[in-house]
């Protein structure tokens, strides 16, 4: 029985190991390209982390990919350009806009079920926060493992996670409060 459990855990450990061998060494290149496009170190770090999480999510399909590096670089380029667009059009980032404006715009008030409301709020989070919640709260990885997989600082993981969870809580409370007023 002990063996069964250990084998099971081992398979995910193997996946992490394989990912660390195949993808993690490319992280420096990813960051370099992101940095060239967005010209800001924090944003470049966010873009890299976002793409690392996406790559982890699609790790099972990566085997079929002939050139992971080229594929991932395209992802970085797209993510970086997206970030630039968001900034240039001066649209407030979702993170900031998830307050009042989006609440009314997205008809979150109409969502009847509270659980559905939570789902919608999570969907509206910036990708990096949404993915962190997914990896920690749904897939069950510990912060250390997420840091290991994405190659980023554990403090950054914790901070993204905390920001994401607080955002979900605050927006949800706000909607409930407004509902009760009516």
């Amino acid at each position: 029985m002990l063996c069964f459990g250990e084998t099971f855990v081992l398979s995910i450990e193997m996946e992490i190991k394989e990912f660390k061998i195949k993808v993690l060494p490319l992280r420096g290149k990813f960051y370099g390209l992101a940095r060239k496009i967005v010209e800001d170190s924090d944003n470049a770090e966010d873009v890299t982390q976002e793409v690392m999480m996406k790559l982890w999510e699609m790790r099972h399909e990566l085997d079929k990919c002939h050139n992971i590096e080229a594929f991932a670089m395209t992802m970085i380029r797209n993510a970086a350009i997206d970030m630039l667009r968001t900034e240039k059009t001066n649209l407030p980032l979702l993170e900031e806009s998830i307050g009042h404006q989006t609440l009314s715009d997205d008809h979150l008030h109409d969502v009847k079920s509270e659980v559905e409301l939570i789902k919608r709020i999570i969907e509206m989070l910036p990708e990096i926060q949404r993915n962190t919640i997914r990896m920690k709260d749904v897939e069950g990885f510990e912060n250390e493992e997420i840091a290991e997989i994405t190659g980023c600082n554990i403090l950054a993981v914790r901070s993204n996670l905390s920001r994401a969870r607080k955002k979900v809580r605050d927006v949800y409370f706000q909607i409930i409060k407004e509902r009760n007023k009516k």
């Binding site: 069950g140 990885f141 914790r158």
Partner: protein
């Protein structure tokens, strides 16, 4: 039942992003249970949603983390114990030949000690060799002549 104070502490840790997977499991169990304190009930949808997502997720791609050994340990111990109990019982009841002396003549069992001894003695005699027989068998003819 988990104390409300403990849950409040865990909630604070949860929103700081510092809870472990196990602590999050405690939160989900508490908030999906029936005894949620009224002032904390507002957090229920968050954990209900996550709980449902985990269940959906595990059907798509099972995550090993929390399919922990613990869940299987006691059933495994119980299964092994029952198996051993079963074997012991099987041998006890099928091993009709139990203790003591007995003899089986033509498929019938006799437990009379004297009869058993008699039969055993007879059986030993049947398979035993006399001194002459041993000599006959072990020493070749030509050597025997020499000895004589």
């Amino acid at each position: 039942m988990t104390k409300k104070k403990d849950i409040e502490i865990l909630l604070e840790k949860y929103f700081e992003g510092t809870t472990s997977g196990q602590e999050e499991q405690i939160l989900r169990t508490y908030f999906t249970g029936s005894e949620v304190s009224e002032d904390l009930a507002v957090y229920r949808p968050i954990f209900s949603y996550l709980d449902a997502e985990i269940k959906n997720c595990s059907t798509a791609k099972p995550h090993p983390r929390y399919i922990s050994l613990k869940r299987f340990t006691w059933p495994a111990v119980a299964a092994i114990f029952l198996l051993m109990l079963g074997f012991t019982a099987y041998y006890r009841f099928n091993n009709t030949t139990g203790d003591g002396s007995y003899v089986i003549i033509n498929g019938e069992k006799f437990s009379d000690v004297r009869l058993a001894q008699q039969q055993a003695q007879k059986a030993f005699e049947d398979v035993s060799f006399s001194k002459d027989e041993i000599t006959d068998n072990l020493i070749p003819e030509d050597m025997k002549e020499g000895l004589e």
